[in-house]
Symmetry: C2
Subunit: 490 residues, 2 copies
Amino acid sequence: MKRYELLAEEIATSIRSGMLDVGDRLPSVRQISTSRGVSVSTVFEAYYLLEARGLIRARERSGYYVTAGNTRLPPEPVIHSNCSTGAHPVRVNDLVFSILESARSRDVVPLASAFPSPLLFPLPRLARSLARGAETMDPWSTVDAITPGSATLRRQIATRYLADGALVQPDDVVITNGALEALNLCLQAVTQPGDAVIVESPTFYGALQALENLGLRAIEVPSCPRDGICLDRLAQALAADKPAACWLMTNFQNPLGSLMPDANKRALVDLLAAHGVPLIEDDVYGELYYGPRRPLPAKAFDQEGLVLHCSSFSKCLAPGYRLGWALPGRFREQVARLKLTRTLAVAAPVQEGLSDYLARGGYDRHLRQLRHTLALQQTAMSAAVLRHFPAGTRASRPEGGYFLWVEFPAGVDTLSLQREACLRNIGVAPGPMFSARGEFRNCIRLNFGHHWDAKIEGAIATLGALAAAQLDSPRPAPAIEEPGLSALGA
Amino acid sequence: MKRYELLAEEIATSIRSGMLDVGDRLPSVRQISTSRGVSVSTVFEAYYLLEARGLIRARERSGYYVTAGNTRLPPEPVIHSNCSTGAHPVRVNDLVFSILESARSRDVVPLASAFPSPLLFPLPRLARSLARGAETMDPWSTVDAITPGSATLRRQIATRYLADGALVQPDDVVITNGALEALNLCLQAVTQPGDAVIVESPTFYGALQALENLGLRAIEVPSCPRDGICLDRLAQALAADKPAACWLMTNFQNPLGSLMPDANKRALVDLLAAHGVPLIEDDVYGELYYGPRRPLPAKAFDQEGLVLHCSSFSKCLAPGYRLGWALPGRFREQVARLKLTRTLAVAAPVQEGLSDYLARGGYDRHLRQLRHTLALQQTAMSAAVLRHFPAGTRASRPEGGYFLWVEFPAGVDTLSLQREACLRNIGVAPGPMFSARGEFRNCIRLNFGHHWDAKIEGAIATLGALAAAQLDSPRPAPAIEEPGLSALGA
């Protein structure tokens, strides 16, 4: 842990313990610097971090004050455990595509977006690295750096895992067209059509689409907004059904934002290993933590090679470059072969370009800035939800990523909310997108990965008004007219 | 047709008709220029073209002479029609991967390679275009230029089809990670696991691998080295079986090099339409013609939207950039959705880079040079086969692409030839790679896409000696020890 992170942790502990109370003024930067023998910039960094986490706030010409942000946040959602057991066919494509299509235009406020703002990334520096990569590329690398991919880049990726505490070798890495391809290949490598696969409830719709495309059935296991998948329910599902695999997100899950504690990750890996069930781990948000250090992936606890870990640079460095990877453990050969037969390779100059970027340093500096920005935007989004959404609305408190999971009071139907918002050029990702059976109809996922401005604040206010109107004049269950909804069994 | 192409056609006709005989000296460049009223460079270009086609040859300080190359070529292979009817499961992956892996090192003479030499492509110019594309890229294009892909690039691709005589609109185009992804997506869009799909015999092993991965069965219909798939046998298969799709290459088929005449393409499209069977058309070699004009794709005859046409820049412009596309006809929506759920998009800077290259011109000039080079290398390869391979060896005479299909006399076993060649650092693609049931054991595919030199000539001589040795001391059928061979039913 860096010096400023230690200092921030210490102050955070004082706030949580009540030693520092809401409204208290913090010592000045110079005072702390002198008393602790640390540099002024270290204190500033610690204060920025605490501000990002919503614990303190600067007042102009007056210093920093404790806001103890937590007391000003909406209450957290409760765990949903209404998932029935057993495996079910998946048919979400129609609903998911119709919603994504409706939110794709630039004129739409991007609350439904799956991406953070592309302006948060070092695109000019990446472009220069790409130019150098393409210019200096060995022509023969177009032939022999096909899957598993550039040896240099695989070494760079493995080194980052090593530094974070997961033992990964360059030969474990298979470079892919983004994490999405990695996930699809891993799923195909360990399943046959008709198999059942455990997913979280709610889960990333991309997982459901992957299951649907491969003719797989879903077993939904409830996940909690704080700690992720419920291990007791998972154990039950493993005993009752015969899943071929389990697909989940351990760090800052999409859509919940949940973070599995290390102990849970270890227990998860052991539990699955006891049943011989492979784990497909989607870790694309792992680098976007607001806390002091990168949370470990479940892969770090994998003794059996049963964890197929997938990630990418798309959400943390290079959107649009489509560079991801899989660490498929004992399934490496199958995944590499599937990759070769489906898309052969990732563009050689893109691999060279990312490799050049990583070699020149600056990635970690960019990440610190990005995490800081996202944490600030989360504070703004949470506050806006509290301000504008109907009383009784709950929201998750993710410690990383850029999604807020919002649970409206029962009676709000987010599928019709989405349609009404769409007419006002506001994108919304309604809960049923994240469920194989159309659950979470009073929930939405909000993207706070975009620069906070009046337009976004206004959109939140509009959503709040629309939800309130639904509560004021509750309607009968709507006729089944939403695209794909009938397929959801709603 | 350009002026020099017209002139070359005229002279070629004179040679074929016997008006000009082997050994005859052609009129001097200046004479023709004067008598025909065309520029000296036009005559030179015509003579180069004829030289590339093996019809004439320059002698130093003496002018051009008719060599009527055809009489010096190996005899053509006969049509294979020993395919049994009915659909069969496909298990070629083990064999194909073991052979491809063994030939992947740079030290191996690349006769088994699927790629032409990367040195034949304008990589420095492409790198500059990529640099400009990345530098000027609108950051938001990383979000909204996902599948179907960049509107500019789709317009540029559609325009080339229009110029070549196929009516294609930008909205018909779905940008993909190379043609391989396009083909896999199209196949998945029109089939369900267990379905039967018509392929050529022999066929591109990538088609067989795609079938295997999706759990599809293959119906093999014989294809002829000159004209492509046998339409009579295709009609029988359509009537007897219930195929879900037909996958083939209309132009310069891999591995045969066959070119379907326009009339056959039209008949093919009509026949399939009569049965309501979609055609997946792999046209990655269409631009590599040696003749006067680009052969039409079957897509040009498609009235029903039943042709799913796939191509890319990988073989004709930008190896390693992994930029391809599908024109999926009436299946556009399904293909675009599958693409979105599997790999989301093609790297935005790569799309921008290719678009920049195409906008600046020079692609057609590059293609003319490339075709000329490949045609010359084919002449060299055919001559070497005639010189070094055992008497009775036959070879195809492709009018485009960079593959020669060679049929040794019965008694040569190319699977053991491949293993023996491998020990000598020579890559060989044996016939059984191209068949769902391990046929064509006395055939190989030779790649002539690399600069002709003593090393390649020496490799051909070695292969010839190895084949001759097999014929001299015929061995009993080898024990089944080749990887995957048992699966081939051999």
